[in-house]
């Protein structure tokens, strides 16, 4: 049996099956966590996948953070459990206060649906543990609100503490400091806008996302 990974499903989530398939490819045992549940069960890691949780009404993630399961995800994160938010999942984690900053509309109001090259900026996170700094990965970007923003103090902290996990090689959306992904102080909670699960096979353009998912699994089982 591989590591058990809970995949949070809100009304409007649409990447849960892609995440489950990609995780299964690298040996995980994925299971879905409906947003109305008050526990994450006996999982080893949690993924908050992409989509449009609760229709993205008000702001992406603004309503989702009040779903019952998010309290359990927060408790799991505080206890050191690895939690990864992808795209809309990243937005949910910032709204929930598990990660600093926010995601705003892309520069020039562009909906982006494109492969993107990111480089690993820190090898000390649940998603990049053991992945060499500087490694270039081709992942899929698919969002409207993907431009990372935070105040100066938070940015200084992220840099000083080596918490910028991924940077865009060629900033596509106006994200501050080319940030594509960050982690929390404990390094167990990671949010990123590009989709590793959509880069899980050469057949769909890239298999570069697998190295990140493998890292998550190895951290999950400690």
């Amino acid at each position: 049996m591989g590591p058990r990974v809970g995949i949070v499903v809100f009304p409007g989530t649409n990447c849960e099956h892609d995440v489950a398939a990609a995780l299964a490819l690298v040996g995980a045992e994925p299971r879905f966590l409906w947003h109305g549940e008050r526990t994450v069960g006996d999982v080893d890691a949690v993924v908050v996948p992409g989509g449009f949780a609760h229709g993205d009404y008000l702001r992406p993630g603004a309503i989702a953070r009040f779903s019952p399961v998010m309290e359990a995800v927060g408790t799991f994160a505080v206890s050191g459990g690895p939690v990864v938010g992808i795209c809309n999942g990243f937005q949910v984690l910032t709204e929930a206060g598990l990660l600093p900053g926010a995601l705003q509309k892309n520069r020039r109001l562009r909906f982006m649906c494109t492969p993107v090259v990111v480089t690993v900026a820190s090898d000390r996170s649940a998603l990049t543990d053991g992945v060499a700094v500087g490694t270039a990965l081709t992942l899929a970007l698919n969002n409207f609100d993907g431009s990372y923003v935070c105040d100066r103090a938070v940015l200084d902290e992220l840099r000083a503490e080596d918490r910028v996990v991924l940077r865009y090689s060629d900033n596509p959306n106006g994200s501050i400091d080319d940030i594509a992904g960050i982690c929390n102080e404990g390094r167990n909670v990671v949010g990123l806008m590009p989709h590793p699960e959509r880069a899980s096979s050469e057949l769909i353009g890239s298999a570069d996302g697998l190295v990140l998912l493998r890292s998550l699994l190895s951290v999950a089982v400690g």
Binding site: R107, L109, V149, C150
Partner: protein, 86 residues
């Protein structure tokens, strides 16, 4: 007493505002080349039950900052007024 509350949410100064920039770029084509400093925002209106105007303001402000606005990138301006016959 019932109070009418209005919350205006706007992007904070210094936060990129691509929506306003896009609107502004479209204006010269309509002959409005005299317009600048465009900003956009959202307006929320609701009613709130409270013992006093002060309390209504406090509750509406809490709601605005905890949900309606994301303080990382947005400011909220709150106003309340007593509803007639309250």
């Amino acid at each position: 007493m019932r109070f009418a509350a209005q919350v205006e949410v706007r992007l904070r100064p210094g936060i990129a505002d691509p929506e306003s920039a896009t609107i502004e770029r479209a204006l010269p084509a309509l002959g409005f080349d005299d317009v600048s400093a465009m900003t956009t925002g959202r307006s929320f209106r609701f009613e709130i039950e409270a013992g006093s105007g002060e309390e209504a303001m406090e509750r509406a402000t809490a709601l605005a900052t905890r949900l309606l606005a994301n303080p990382v990138m947005e400011d909220a301006e709150v106003s309340v007024s007593a509803r007639g016959g309250g």
